[in-house]
């Protein structure tokens, strides 16, 4: 193989690779709500733009959502953003996902209902 051809291949490979890395970083904020405790997916995953949401909703404290409860009281100085919700909010009988679905809905939907902003109906979050 000619030297020039090899160079072209290397450049193309690098371009593709850097594109993948850049697009990966630039989409860091574009994500879906995930929880490994959900085995069977009943609905499409919820697309959630974390930073954009919090700017719009004027949320500054992490523990507005990522809360920690100790003995029934919300610990004001603590937050749980490094944890999955299901680590505390265990499934009913260890396998029924309803309780976990509920706490996600209560966290998102009920707040939207109270603030009268943001999606509240099934298909508004679980977009097909």
């Amino acid at each position: 193989m000619e030297k020039r051809t090899v160079m072209v291949y290397i450049v193309i490979t690098l371009l593709v690779f850097s594109f993948a890395v850049i697009s990966g970083f630039s989409q860091e904020d574009v994500s879906t709500i995930q929880d490994s405790a959900f085995k069977e997916k009943m609905r499409p995953p919820v697309r959630f733009l974390h930073d954009e949401h919090n700017e719009t909703a004027l949320i500054e404290e992490c523990n507005t959502c990522h809360h920690v409860y100790e003995e029934g009281e919300k610990a004001e100085d603590e937050s749980s953003e490094d944890m999955e919700c299901s680590e505390c909010h265990a499934l009913d009988d260890g396998k029924n996902p309803m309780s976990l679905v509920k706490i996600y809905h209560v966290r998102c939907k009920r707040c939207h209902q109270e603030k009268k902003a943001g999606p509240v109906m099934c298909g508004e979050c679980h977009v097909k």
């Binding site: 009943m42 009913d92 029924n96 309803m98 309780s99 679905v101 509920k102 809905h105 209560v106 939907k109 009920r110 939207h112 209902q113 009268k116 902003a117 509240v120 109906m121 099934c122 298909g123 508004e124 977009v127 097909k128």
Partner: protein, 219 residues
């Protein structure tokens, strides 16, 4: 939109359930009082044994001569009535709302099953509509209110299907879906949909009279 959603999914649910259960109680009591005043013979002849015997025959598909003579109607009406009650109670999307509000949940059917059964209900409604228009004897007995009632029953299923599939305008359709379900609940005690509460008594009385007085079958 939030105000409307909060209203139809909050206070209006209470209103419709209160009208539904309160209406059922009111209709049962007022009918019992009316019968005592004007048709006391009903109480004389009502028999648990013959009444239940007749009801049992009529709630079994093809358990009566009428059911056997109209096989298509029998299949459609039984499937329709079972689905009508079964789908809304065992639908995942409904149960999660119960879970959110009351922290209770139960077994649910898959969304695909719900989809298929909903199409069955809608198709049955079309069948009943065509039947009313086409069959001379049924047409003769049909009034405008029968079409309205058919619409009231079909609406929650059509709008629910639409909302689930997120077809254009599904937000409005979702609101109409909740509203139409509430209208149906509230309409049950006060329209011909009240056969839901009265059928054991009308059938039971027929069975009693045919069984104990005429010593004949009424199925």
């Amino acid at each position: 939109m939030h105000d409307i959603y909060n209203f139809v999914s909050g206070p209006l649910v209470w209103v419709s359930f209160i009208i539904f259960f309160g209406g059922i109680l009111y209709r049962l009591i007022s009918m019992a009082v009316l019968a005592k005043k004007k048709d006391v013979i009903v109480y004389e002849y009502m028999s648990l044994q013959y009444g239940l015997r007749s009801i049992l025959h009529w709630i079994i598909p093809f358990g009566t001569v009428k059911w056997q003579k109209n096989p298509i109607f029998t299949i459609v009406t039984f499937t329709f009535h079972i689905c009508l009650i079964f789908i809304p109670i065992f639908l995942f999307a409904h149960i999660i709302l119960w879970k959110e509000s009351w922290d209770i949940s139960w077994w649910y059917i898959s969304d695909i099953a719900a989809d298929v059964l909903t199409i069955v209900v809608i198709a049955s409604c079309i069948f009943f509509l065509v039947r009313r228009i086409v069959l001379p004897d049924v047409k003769y007995l049909t009034s405008i209110s029968d079409y309205v009632i058919l619409g009231i029953v079909a609406a929650p299923f059509i709008t629910g299907f639409w909302t689930y599939h997120q077809w254009p305008g599904f937000r409005i359709m979702g609101i109409i879906h909740i509203l139409s379900g509430e209208i149906m609940l509230a309409a049950i005690p006060f329209t011909r949909l009240s056969h839901m509460i009265f059928f054991p008594f009308t059938r039971g009385y027929m069975g009693s009279e045919f069984g104990a007085v005429r010593h004949a079958k009424d199925w």
